[in-house]
């Protein structure tokens, strides 16, 4: 409710502003030094958690309003994708030697879909909500965050399918996920959400000034998808690529996320050559550390840019 107090507290810390403050007047949109202000904004966003919830609900509602199948559509696409990859790549392209290939793909595909959805919807979130950005004040970060939230809800449905598939595969193979590795998917999701939100913030701000971003990102995501070991095994990449290039390939934050999901949800791969052999925990922690710094940086850039949103739209 106190729309500016947090901002002002952060802004007032540079002393010069304090001199200007008569009797509890608070400066509107006080300038913040680049390095500080993240915590202030985060606190402000927390104050608006209810609005954030409403925005997420709105995103979900309007996406499938007036369609008979509604939310089922967001399940249908990855399911069909799964089937296509399974048939075409699993059978025709001889990747069929990977055991329980369907579970293998879906473990990666589910997180990838989440990532792609966050990034692409967050990118357009400011531009699509131009009407609001120009007329009402609340932290602009809420728009990309609402996109993230809506994508997470869709992800829950996919997770349900994944769990069902894991159960079926478990009955069929006798291999069940190892509960001691349960931290893997949690850490992976954390890394993914933080990284994707940071990327979304950055791209959302860029897209306001340069609408090409929203088209460009579709292409980039497509390339990124094929550069991530989702429908093929990383072991083949290790064989084909020279060492340094392979190391570079593994720097992809999404690779670590996919490895973690595969390791937990695809126990049938345990001990086969198709499983990633590196230290997934270490990679995840490094990814999280990187993502947190990246998110901070992205938010600072976003905060810089957001003062001009209303006039650029």
């Amino acid at each position: 409710m106190t729309q500016t107090s947090e901002r002002t507290l952060a802004g007032a810390s540079n002393g010069r502003d304090l001199a200007h403050q008569p009797h509890g007047l608070e400066r509107v949109n006080a300038p913040q030094p680049f390095l500080r202000g993240f915590v202030g904004t985060a606190r402000e966003v927390l104050n608006y958690h209810e609005l954030l919830g409403n925005l997420v609900r709105k995103e979900l509602k309007i996406k499938y309003k007036d369609s008979v199948l509604g939310l089922l559509w967001s399940l249908l696409l990855p399911l069909v994708q799964l089937l296509v990859y399974w048939f075409v790549i699993g059978n025709f392209l001889a990747a069929g030697t990977i055991p329980y290939y369907g579970v293998f793909i879906f473990a990666g595909l589910a997180v990838w879909t989440l990532f792609a959805e966050i990034v692409s919807t967050a990118t357009t979130s400011i531009v699509y909500n131009a009407g609001l950005v120009k007329k009402v004040y609340f932290p602009r970060e809420l728009f990309p965050l609402a996109a993230t939230g809506a994508a997470l809800v869709n992800f829950l449905f996919q997770l349900a399918i994944l769990v069902a598939a894991v159960v079926l595969a478990g009955i069929g193979s006798g291999h069940w996920p190892d509960p001691s590795k349960a931290a893997l998917p949690v850490l992976a999701l954390l890394a993914l959400v933080v990284f994707a939100t940071g990327l979304g913030l950055l791209l959302a701000a860029a897209n306001v000034h340069l609408r090409d971003i929203q088209h460009l990102i579709a292409i980039v995501l497509m390339m990124w998808f094929w550069l991530t070991p989702i429908i093929y095994s990383v072991s083949r990449v290790g064989e084909k690529l020279p060492g340094p290039v392979y190391d570079l390939y593994l720097l992809n934050p999404m690779a670590s996320v996919v490895f973690a999901f595969q390791e937990f949800f695809w126990p049938q791969g345990e001990g086969t050559v198709y499983q990633f052999t590196g230290d997934v925990y270490l990679r995840l922690l490094a990814t999280i550390a990187f993502s947190v710094v990246f998110l901070w940086f992205a938010q600072r850039v976003f905060a810089r840019a957001q003062g001009n949103f209303a006039q650029e739209l």
Binding site: H20, H23, G24, N54, K61, V136, Y137, D212, A310
Partner: protein, 391 residues
């Protein structure tokens, strides 16, 4: 600066840069000429003022004078290029009704969404929900998607949400002119209630009448600069004086039989004037010039209208029972009015020459304008001087 200052605008300037290209290709192609593709202008130029708690301030000015920009800067939607804005207390900005509405959502869903955008919690919205729906008067449609609403229903619901937000500072941008008459009255009543509660209101409007009625202080902006800051009637008068240029959109002389020329306003001594005191004698004088053969069937008349375009008085020679001789050469006409009991404001004169039946030969809708100055703040067109007895 006193303790009760709730808004402080200090030396605020806002520059807009208008770029004419916006895609990567265009920017690359035009990289070298990118300076040519930028145009900048100052929407606000070193504006400063304080607003004390409980006051209602009007912002007036022509289109493009920076009123809305100023409101957005106070609301935090835009950031000033230089200078800064400070304020205290919860703020609600009615910059556009239904800005947060989404056509695919139902009225109910939109009420909750919009209320949270304006800063209400879910519990508060629950509490106000019935009052909101009742205020908007659209109960049977509350669970219909708003894209099926009439535009009147839409703005009514939006306004209903906005006025239930319970702000300490209310920014209003020309949103009071919505809905039908009864609803407008309801809105104004609500604003008056706000004033009564001691809340601070900043109002942007083109209705000078509203400004005079509701504000206790007015700022007149002209191309981004504060021209007048003070008493409403003083600011409104200044604004009207600046707008006197008569727009002589003449209707083409029909059939080219007669033409009106030289329309002017004179006082009781025959002097040309454009400003009168209320109750003073005013004459409308003009010449009729027959362009062809003599015109047998003719009459001429004048009509008065206010700034809203409403004609509130008028007469012509035929209605007055005159039967003048045929028009053969330039003829001078004078309509003398002994006293115009008009209230403060700007008025327009329409002049026409016409046959008894049928189309006008020539008509000028805004042939002249004049200002009435009074000390009275009474609203309306007519200034009556009632004798009031309270027994």
């Amino acid at each position: 600066m006193s303790d009760s200052t709730v808004i402080r605008v200090v030396d605020v300037s806002k520059r807009f840069i208008i770029r004419k290209d916006n895609s990567l290709k265009e920017r690359l192609v035009n990289a070298r000429r990118s300076k040519e593709n930028k145009e900048e202008f100052w929407a606000l130029d070193r504006v400063s003022f304080d607003v004390q708690s409980g006051h209602t301030m009007g912002l007036i000015g022509a289109n493009g004078s920076g009123k809305s920009t100023l409101l957005k800067l106070i609301g935090g939607i835009l950031t000033p290029t230089s200078g800064f804005v400070e304020r205290r207390g919860r703020l609600a900005a009615l910059l556009e009704l239904g800005a947060g509405f989404h056509g695919d959502l139902t009225g109910r869903e939109n009420v909750y969404l919009n209320a949270s955008i304006l800063g209400l919690t879910r519990r508060q919205t629950d509490q106000y929900f019935d009052a909101i729906v009742d205020f908007a008067g659209i109960e049977p449609f509350i669970d219909t998607q708003v894209k099926f609403y009439s535009s009147g229903m839409y703005v009514r619901l939006a306004f209903a949400v906005a006025v239930h937000v319970d702000p300490e500072i209310l920014l209003v941008d020309e949103v009071l002119a919505v809905g039908d008459e009864p609803f407008q009255r309801k809105c104004l009543d609500r604003i008056k209630q706000f004033q009564h509660d001691g809340r601070t209101i900043i109002l942007v409007t083109h209705s000078l009448e509203q400004v005079r009625q509701m504000c206790d202080r007015v700022i007149l902006l002209e191309v981004g600069k504060v021209v007048v800051d003070g008493d409403p009637s003083q600011a409104v008068r200044h604004f009207r004086d600046a707008n006197v240029e008569v727009d002589q959109q003449e209707q083409e002389a029909r059939d080219h039989l007669v033409r009106i020329e030289n329309v002017r306003l004179t006082d009781d001594r025959g002097q040309d004037r454009s400003t009168f005191d209320s109750g003073a004698a005013v004459s409308v004088e003009f010449d009729l010039v027959p362009l062809g053969p003599a015109v047998e069937d003719w009459g001429c008349g004048v009509a008065f209208s206010d700034v809203s375009g409403m004609t509130f008085a008028g007469t012509n020679t035929i209605l007055q029972g005159l039967e003048p001789a045929a028009l053969r050469h330039r003829t001078h006409i004078r309509f003398g009015f002994d006293g115009l009991p008009l209230s403060e404001g700007q008025y327009f004169i329409a002049v026409a020459v016409h046959p008894e039946h049928g189309y006008d030969y020539h008509r000028i809708d805004r042939a002249a304008s004049f200002l009435i100055h009074t000390d009275s703040a009474d609203p309306g067109v007519l200034l009556l001087h009632p004798k009031i007895e309270i027994t």
